[in-house]
């Protein structure tokens, strides 16, 4: 186990997002539904934030607020129309390959091929990340033991339980021991035991100095494990701050709904 990381002493930004903007063209049907005149939908509108080394940064927001689009831009799956982001100093626009080598992305949208075994997929993604055989075997042993994957290492992923599949996905997203890890709803659909194992692991990663960006709907999870939180509404950063300070008087859920009502003017 690595040494416990001191966040206050190492306040270096691992992720910096500057004025990210992303607009999508609406289909004819969407145009009618959204009552849009321009036919364009701004998913992310000038979003800026930073995540420091060794912290868990929570991204909160309702459905359609722009969280997933933001995460996809940071993971270089889509390009921002305006603005840029840096992962460990590498621009997602100018050096996407290098930025990708420094980040891990865990989302329900991205899955390992279920036809293969956890062992094969771990080796496959290690090879794509250029991980040496020695490091690969060490990490595999560490992660597979940590998540109890070992006995299922040669079982087809398709035949594993939902919880075990999620654990395999986490292990695979960390084959290259990234500095910065994006977790999109990591506990969604998991039973309480597996969810606990996942949240414990996030805290363990934090202690090892990893930077985590956590997108979730679960207020209690943010309160429990996040150092700072950013609330996104309509693609804009509506509130950002230290979780402990924000929740001094009200809990996070109340803070969020007060903010949401103020932003929307009582609508919705």
């Amino acid at each position: 186990m690595d040494e416990v990381f001191d966040l206050e002493e190492n306040a270096e930004n691992v992720l910096v997002a500057r004025d990210l903007k992303k607009t999508f063209k609406l289909s004819r049907k969407q145009k009618k539904l959204e009552k849009s005149v321009t036919g364009l939908k701004t998913a992310v509108d000038g979003l800026s934030f930073a995540a420091r080394r060794g912290e868990i940064y929570g991204l909160l927001g309702p459905n359609g607020a722009g969280k997933t689009t933001t995460l996809r831009m940071l993971a270089t799956l889509i390009k921002p129309d305006e603005g840029d982001a840096e992962v460990n100093g590498y621009s997602v626009l100018k050096e996407p390959d290098k930025a990708r080598s420094k980040l891990g992305f865990l989302t329900s949208e991205l899955k390992p091929d279920e036809f293969f075994t956890p062992n094969y997929m771990f080796d496959f993604f290690s090879a794509l990340h250029g991980v040496s055989e020695a490091d690969r075997e060490k990490r595999k042993l560490d992660l597979f033991t940590r998540f109890g994957i070992g006995e299922f290492a040669e079982t087809k992923i398709a035949d594993l339980s939902t919880g075990m599949k999620q654990k395999v996905s986490i292990a695979i997203s960390l084959v290259h021991d990234p500095e910065f890890i994006i977790f999109d709803e990591p506990t969604n659909g998991l039973d309480v035991l597996t969810a606990k194992a996942v949240t414990d692991f996030l805290l363990e990663l934090k202690q090892r100095g990893k930077t985590i960006l956590l997108s979730t709907h679960i207020f209690s999870l943010v309160e429990k494990i996040c150092d700072r939180v950013g609330v996104i509404i309509d693609g804009k950063m509506s509130l950002e701050g230290n979780v402990k300070e924000l929740t001094k008087e009200k809990n996070l859920e109340e803070v969020f709904f007060d903010l949401y009502a103020a932003r929307k003017g009582g609508k919705e």
């Binding site: 799956l77 390959d97 080598s101 949208e109 991205l110 036809f115 293969f116 496959f124 250029g130």
Partner: protein, 378 residues
């Protein structure tokens, strides 16, 4: 480059360990063998084989004295009957009804040494094996008589009925069948490899690794091409093994009917066609967001392949530039080779054109893999 091979190895492993996909890969070849053997053994053979003891019923009108000796028909295999002019129509009907084999109508005062206006009208029926074989033999003997210079004219009249012709046409649907089998082989693996990965979310997982997207595209294309060439080779093998049965007695000793050059031409056409087809289906599959969508998009292309394959039956396409039309060129080239009239130039143009189109489409695919709209399906 190491990551490129990692992707190729994973793709190959994916297919070789999946019985369903493996079946889809090699089934076309097995089907070609089975269907062609069935056609060849059950239908074509019955149409083309003539019993060794069979005697051809040959009717003649105005035949010059000693013509049988002259043409070498003076043995027991030929039963020759000289008829009167008023029986001619009756004999023609007999041939049409497949009751007689051949009817030779010589011009009055015909002589083998020739003369102005002399000639032989040859009536036969391709739907009757014996009639067709007799026509072939007579044709060869008459040609031999005129080897030095044409001395008289020979007018062939095929008295085959339309419905009988259908059976004969069956033998000319070969190129279409091969193309459809090849196409279905490729169509069963490419959508799974590209649209299937997009649908299952495993494709984007690769996109968040530091591997360049062009390497991912190249890895997919190369692995699919290896698999499809294997499928194509299997189809080629099925075709080759079924050829002796397809050719029946017409082909003499079967395999020897086609020379090494013919097989090489077929192999070249089949493999280059596979590469083109896999490139086309890969592009279509990349546009789709699911295997179902890809399959429905590929569906109309199957129809195009069938039409292109059938089009060769209506003749035309002898000139080299016809061999630039994708898919149609493959059908044309195969049809030529099957009919033992394959031109090396046309086959080379076909292979060259197919490889060129496949390369162009591969470059397009690499571009598409870089497009966020196509890759994310948004």
């Amino acid at each position: 480059m190491k990551s490129f091979w990692t992707i190729v190895k994973k793709e190959l492993s994916r297919f070789f360990h999946d019985k369903r996909l493996l079946m889809a890969l090699f089934l076309p070849g097995i089907l070609i063998y089975a269907v062609y053997s069935l056609i060849g053994g059950g239908l074509i053979d019955s149409l083309t084989a003539v019993d060794e003891d069979y005697s051809y019923k040959l009717y003649t009108l105005n035949a010059p004295a000693g013509f049988a000796e002259e043409l070498g028909l003076d043995d027991e295999r030929w039963k020759i009957v000289e008829i009167e002019a008023d029986e001619a129509e009756k004999i023609k009907t007999k041939i049409e009804e497949q009751e007689a084999d051949l009817y030779l109508e010589f011009t009055p005062a015909f002589e083998f040494s020739g003369g102005e206006g002399t000639g032989i009208a040859v009536y036969y029926n391709t739907a009757k094996t014996e009639s067709s074989a007799a026509y072939g033999l007579i044709g060869a003997l008459i040609s031999a008589k005129q080897f030095d210079s044409p001395k008289f004219t020979t007018l062939p009249f095929d008295l085959v009925k339309d419905e009988d012709m259908t059976a004969m046409l069956f033998s000319s649907i070969g190129p279409m069948l091969v193309l459809v089998f090849l196409f279905s082989g490729c169509a069963s693996i490419a959508p799974e490899s590209i649209a299937g990965e997009k649908e299952r979310g495993t494709f984007a997982t690769m996109l968040v690794t530091p591997v360049k997207r062009s390497y991912i595209a190249l890895g997919k294309i190369v692995s699919l091409s290896i698999l499809s060439v294997l499928s194509g080779f299997c189809s080629f093998l099925g075709l080759t093994l079924s050829l002796p049965k397809l050719m029946g007695d017409l082909g003499g000793s079967g395999l020897s009917a086609y020379g090494f050059g013919d097989y090489m031409m077929l192999l070249g056409v089949v493999i280059s066609s596979v590469l083109l087809i896999v490139a086309i289906i890969s592009v279509v599959s990349t546009l789709a967001n699911s295997v179902k969508e890809a399959t429905s998009m590929v569906g109309p292309l199957t129809l195009v392949v069938v039409v292109m394959g059938v089009a060769t039956m209506f003749g035309g396409g002898g000139e080299w530039y016809w061999h630039l039309i994708p898919i149609y060129n493959s059908a044309l080239a195969m049809s030529d080779v099957f009919s033992l009239s394959g031109s090396a130039l046309n086959v080379l143009v076909t292979i060259g054109a197919n490889l060129l189109y496949a390369t162009g489409l591969s470059l397009l695919l690499a571009k598409m893999f870089d497009s966020e709209k196509i890759v994310s399906g948004s």
